[in-house]
């Protein structure tokens, strides 16, 4: 009954992530968690929207935001969403090597995104003296975007941990759910980012 053995194409079920009870549980548990995360981010978005004009004579959204960097970040994260889809595609086809490869690309893109974000924050703080404490707008901006960044960072550590852990073992029914739940989480992060670039940056630019 142990699910530990590496799978060969003969024994690979169609949905390895949900083939065991543990897998099913993880799958549902993560989805439910995402339901909760929706409210979490909604509360942050709501706070941001309520405070986005409370700049207390500090820099405003129009002063700060540049579209180029945000566009690059968006492309990085969106693409990483696609690469993780590819990874899951190869998981279904039981091609462990390709799965790891695509996940590696995902991680790479994620790191790129995070680097851009760090650069962006650094830039605001040093060029504009716009900090967490400048105004209610500053607090809300860094909190919302920072929470998302924190999620990305956590996702990356998670991804790297399972990739390294399973590198030598290959795919099995015990770790397939872990990969799959990671990919769901990663997509969700992308969803949040879509709203961030829309609500924070684009709407901020529009005014």
């Amino acid at each position: 009954m142990s699910h530990d053995h590496s799978l060969n194409p003969e024994t690979m079920p169609q949905e390895p992530e949900k083939a065991t009870l543990e897998g099913k549980n993880k799958f549902l548990g993560l989805w439910f968690f995402l339901g909760g995360e929706t409210v979490l981010f909604a509360s942050l978005f709501g706070t941001y929207l309520a405070l986005r004009n409370s700049t207390a004579n500090g820099p405003t959204a129009q002063d700060l935001f540049g579209l180029e960097l945000v566009f690059i970040m968006t492309m990085l994260l969106l693409t990483s969403s696609l690469t993780s889809v590819y990874a899951m595609y190869h998981m279904k086809n039981n091609d462990f090597k390709k799965m790891q490869l695509w996940l590696g690309i995902t991680a790479f893109l994620g790191i790129g995104f995070l680097a851009c974000e760090i650069y962006e924050f650094y830039h605001y703080i040093h060029e504009y003296e716009f900090t967490f404490r400048s105004s209610a707008f500053g607090s809300a901006f860094y909190t919302l975007v920072g929470f998302h960044g924190g999620h990305v960072a956590f996702g990356l550590s998670w991804l790297i941990a399972i990739m390294v852990r399973n590198a030598k073992r290959g795919l099995n029914l015990y770790n397939a759910p872990k990969y799959y739940t990671f990919s769901l989480y990663w997509h969700f992060i992308d969803v949040v980012w879509v709203f961030i670039f829309t609500v924070v940056y684009l709407m901020g630019k529009v005014g």
Partner: protein, 617 residues
């Protein structure tokens, strides 16, 4: 670990067993002990409050201490007593009711408990470290951001940590109910307690994140100089109120719905009838939960949101009377035509009906926005919510404890003491809180450290205090009953009450794998069906076979200690940056545990068929 080895062990092994357990029944014990302890603490705080208010301008407590007392009373009772006791009951009973061997995430279950426990301990450490939080359990900004000392910091981190535990509990129950029901246990055959566990968990899932965010914002403002609630920098204090109540109102249904489930099961068992209007009961539960998300601003009628918002929220709030009424009448109809046995469990349930009805109706009175301009923040509100909380939730917990004690611990609570405790508590309860409705309208706002002489408030407060002391006495007898039962109690059979649901189909206390064979469910009240059709016991849905059990783990305990340490670090780094070390160390411990957890494989172990068969005789 084989079954026999579990019997005789030293004290150290006993403790170790509980620290590492992932068995839902043992975790339930932990929750009950933890929640019970905090309930006593909260009760003690209530006694101090009432003693302070026994006469006008009393000086039993100082002004600052009084505010700490009410804040800790409210916070402790809601977050550390009522909720954990309910979660404990859910843990103990829900898996049994659906015929499961365990919950979906045993590890998370244990982690949830330890987070709750260490969050609670962290919060209460404030008493010894310069003062407890003093801005009310609602912690309205900017009072809470301006509150000096570290009191409110303890509130923020204590609740953040224990809240994370609760959220895990909620997700765990949801997945358990979705994936682990026994064959034949369809959704519309689940006992009401399981249903309310399910709906409550949904509420937890959607309500707690708002609190999480609120607490983060408060934490950032207090500890890292952000400006969410700082008017000078453009902040807005009302954001906190919205976030708090978007969480807070669903929270009160998180408390009451499980109690509703308890009463549904008990009333039907002791009336020997199936629950009247089962389908309506289920839908009423869901409807209450749904509406519960749309009414939070009824706590904010006097904030000045304007007439449109006030009118909408007034009507939405009143609407909840309808599904709740459906429940009340269905319970009455369940008893109607039945054969009613009255014992302690039933006494608490019967007392619930009129008491809660009063509380619910004062709730509807509060919902009438313009009337609330008078009631708001007075003792009328205090009376309302103690009627629903004590008369609903606390009665529910006590009823459940009497009802399921045999299942939990294999002993029956003493009936005579049960009745004494009940009557004292019941009479004390009405004495304490009924008169508070009038006190409120007579001009006594809540959270008043003293009331002045010559305002006509003396008699009412005296009566209220006397009532509270009676409740204290009742509580004391209940505690004595527990101790007495532990040593001298009558042993219980598997089915002492002629029960109807699956938990009564197995021995008391249940073996750690619960069901030797997963039962086959053939309808609502499965055990009752088997009884009336002459068999008297459940049929297995599968032949006896190996049972897969999860591994115990100490990681949840250590991880929670990590967060606990980090909590202290966060609180004190405002005084001294060196405390950041504690933050890093604590978080490091927690993250390391997470890493170990995800890198190490946990395959559990199997109880073999042979062992099970040996056990049978």
């Amino acid at each position: 670990m084989s079954i026999a080895a579990a019997q005789k062990k030293g004290f150290g092994a006993f403790i170790w067993d509980y620290l590492t357990t992932v068995d839902h029944k043992k975790i339930a014990h932990l929750y009950l002990v933890g929640g019970g302890f905090f309930f006593l603490l909260g009760g003690l705080e209530a006694m101090f409050i009432r003693i302070q208010l026994i006469k006008p301008e009393n000086d039993f407590l100082s002004a600052g201490l009084y505010n700490e007392m009410i804040t800790m009373h409210g916070t402790t009772m809601i977050f550390l007593a009522a909720m954990p006791l309910l979660i404990g009951l859910m843990n103990a009973i829900m898996p049994l009711q659906i015929g499961a061997r365990d919950v979906a995430f045993p590890f998370l279950n244990s982690l949830g408990f330890w987070l709750f426990m260490f969050g609670g301990i962290l919060l209460n450490c404030s008493w010894f470290l310069g003062g407890a939080p003093d801005a009310g359990w609602t912690s309205y900004t900017p009072l809470s951001t301006q509150s000096p000392g570290h009191g409110v910091d303890f509130y923020v981190l204590g609740l953040q940590i224990s809240g994370a535990g609760t959220l895990m509990g909620g997700i765990n129950f949801l997945v358990t109910i979705v994936t682990m029901r026994a064959p034949g246990m369809t959704y519309m055959r689940m006992p009401l307690f399981t249903w309310t566990t399910f709906v409550t968990s949904v509420l937890i899932l959607f309500a707690f994140p708002a609190l999480t965010v609120g607490l983060f914002l408060l934490m950032f403002d207090r500890m890292f100089g952000s400006a969410f609630f700082d008017v000078a920098l453009g902040g807005n204090a009302v954001i906190w109120q919205h976030l708090f109540w978007i969480f807070g109102h669903p929270e009160v249904y998180i408390l009451i719905l499980p109690a509703f489930g308890v009463f549904s099961d008990i009333l039907s068992t002791f009336s020997k009838k199936r629950l009247f209007g089962y389908t309506a009961m289920v839908f009423a539960t869901i409807l209450i939960a749904f509406l519960g998300f749309m009414v939070w601003a009824h706590h904010m009628f006097t904030v000045g949101l304007g007439p449109v918002a006030n009118a909408i929220f007034a009507i939405a709030t009143m609407a909840i009377a309808v599904p709740t009424g459906i429940k009340i009448f269905n319970w009455l109809a369940t008893m109607w035509g039945g054969s009613i046995t009255i014992n302690s469990a039933m006494l608490w349930s019967l007392a619930f009906i009129p008491s809660f009805t009063i509380g619910g109706m004062t709730g509807v009175m509060l919902a009438s926005a313009v009337a609330d301009y008078q009631y708001h923040d007075t003792y009328f509100v205090v009376a309302h919510f103690h009627y629903v909380i004590v008369g609903g939730v606390v009665f529910g917990i006590l009823a459940a404890l009497h009802y399921w004690w045999p299942k939990l611990f294999g002993k029956i609570l003493n009936e005579a003491m049960g009745k004494w405790a009940f009557w004292l508590f019941f009479i004390g309860f009405h004495l304490t809180f009924f008169i508070q409705h009038f006190l409120g309208l007579m001009g006594m706002p809540r959270r008043y450290w003293v009331f002045l002489e010559d305002q006509g408030l003396d008699t009412g407060n005296l009566v209220s205090t006397i009532g509270a002391l009676l409740m204290g006495l009742g509580g004391l007898i209940f505690v004595i009953n527990i101790i007495y039962t532990a040593f001298k109690g009558e042993n219980a059979s598997g089915d002492p009450w002629d029960g109807r649901t699956l938990e009564w189909a197995i021995p008391s206390p249940p073996p750690f794998y619960n069901f030797k064979q997963t039962p086959l469910v053939r309808g609502l009240d499965p055990l009752w069906i088997e009884k009336t059709e002459g068999k008297g016991e459940m049929t297995g849905a599968e032949p006896i076979g190996d049972i897969h059990m999860p591994d115990g783990s100490i990681l949840p305990f250590i991880m929670s200690i990590g967060f606990f340490i980090a909590g202290f670090g966060f609180i004190y780094q405002t005084d001294q940056k060196a405390w950041l070390l504690a933050v890093f160390a604590g978080m490091g411990i927690a993250l390391l545990c997470m890493l170990i957890r995800s890198l190490k494989d946990y395959h559990g172990y199997h109880i073999t068929k042979e062992e099970l068969e040996r056990e049978a005789d």
